[in-house]
Amino acid sequence: MSRARAPGTFGAAWLVARKDLAIEFRTRTAFFSALVFAVLALCIFYFAWDESIIAPAQRAPGVLWVVLAFSALLGLQRSFSIEEHDRGIDALLVSPISRESIYLGKAIGNLLFLCAIQLITIPALALFYNLPIGRPLMVVTAIVLLAMIGIVAVGTLFSAMAVNTRLAELLLPMLSLPFFVPILMNAAQATTRVLGDRPLAESWPWLKILIAFDLVFVVACTLAFPFTLEE
């Protein structure tokens, strides 16, 4: 006990994230449901439009962000529900790690989870919608990562708030989606320009706003998180 020293904020956050990923790796329930949803949605959107009116490449940005937002919600839902089942959250709260590190750990776990989904979704999107492989797709992947940071920051906070309520499945999208709008709006604008073969400089103003939203959401949600745990 005397030799023990609790890990710092980021050390503890990594422990929490690693634990969450280990649980997801064992159960794979959220991963498969998010993945199946993403691939099915890509298929449906592909066949729902007349190709002679709108080319697949022009539809791709919109489809990408709709699929991404809703598959993210499926992943975020499980983030705190795994803590609620046997009140694992209490064990975290009585441990000497800070509340902020719990939030950051959950957010990192969610981000890695969503990155794993995108690893399959983005190539599938490129395949279905005949997108140029190479630099544009790499830039789109970077934009997706930036947007994911903001989505995860907001979604993790609201997942913690919603989990104790009776209508958690309904409440999380209701709370999160309005906050996703500024992120998705900027990310979609930047993606449209990148996939439209426009110079990167044209996307840059949208990306700057996206980065600003990421910073604001990460800081604000980290500071707000401890209050969501009060009974």
Binding site: A6, D86, V94
Partner: protein, 251 residues
């Protein structure tokens, strides 16, 4: 030699939920090596008091200190506390070893794997260390939960109905563990409905009714049979008082 300041000190602690006073002005002092058995009917406020001491709840008024620290203000001081709840606080997809090792890492124990295996061995569940928790019975899960709570050798152990679901071997392992913790200087608060069991382990006994501690005894001075009879009477009188209050209120 145990430290002289109280391991747990609660002063005029009150906690309300809406208009309901779950804990109402409780004073408590518990020193190292002491064990307080807390009895009371359902809804008396025992679990709320335990959660206040653990720092999981914020008192509406009054203060709670553990080893001289307020757990809500000093995160590192939470390392003094081990909490055993009636919910297992385990992750079912992980194994007992992974659950306890994760806890050991949160407390910064230098060799978390060895500490985890040691704690599981003390709770006599080492042979199931690598089976998923979801495959274990309620009693075995409770043993893992106890191992997880004591892996960092806390100075204050809070136990909420720890004997629930344990078989004779599990109960004996827990009683041995509690005696060992006491002799090593840990202070224990044991919430239980089983008065006999509580008196067997505790140095002090208290009864809670309607959020208040209405009786506090030194276990050395009480005779278990008499105590149980008096406790039952106290609880029944409390229930009668509550129902007469309800009648008055509706009238």
């Amino acid at each position: 030699m145990f430290p002289t300041c109280p391991a747990v000190e609660a002063s005029r602690v009150r906690r309300t939920f809406g208009r309901r006073r779950a804990v109402d002005g409780v004073d408590l002092s518990l020193y190292a090596g002491e064990c307080l058995a807390l009895f009371g009917p359902n809804g008396a406020g025992k679990t709320t008091l335990l959660r206040l001491v653990a720092g999981l709840l914020k008192p509406t008024s009054g203060s709670v200190r553990v080893c001289g620290h307020s757990l809500r203000e000093d995160a590192s001081a939470r390392a003094h506390v081990g909490l055993i709840s009636h919910q297992s606080m385990l992750y079912r997809a992980l194994t007992p070893r992974e659950n306890v090792e994760f806890a050991a890492r949160l407390y910064g124990i230098p060799d978390p794997r060895a500490a985890a295996l040691n704690a599981l061995e003390r709770m006599r569940i080492l042979d199931r260390a690598d089976a998923p928790v979801r495959a274990l019975s309620r009693g075995l899960q409770q043993r893992v939960s106890i191992a997880r709570s004591i892996v960092h050798e806390p100075s204050v152990v809070l136990l909420d109905e720890p004997y629930t679901g344990l078989d004779a071997a599990g109960g004996a392992a827990l009683t041995d563990m509690l005696q060992l913790l006491r002799s090593s200087g840990a202070a224990l608060i044991l919430v239980t409905h089983n008065v006999d069991e509580g008196l067997g382990v505790a140095s002090h006994a208290a009864v809670m009714l309607d959020g208040k501690i209405v009786r506090h005894d030194d276990c050395a001075t009480v005779e278990p049979r008499t105590y149980i009879a008096q406790y039952r009477e106290l609880v029944l009188r409390g229930a009668e008082h509550e129902s007469s209050f309800d009648v008055e209120a509706t009238a």
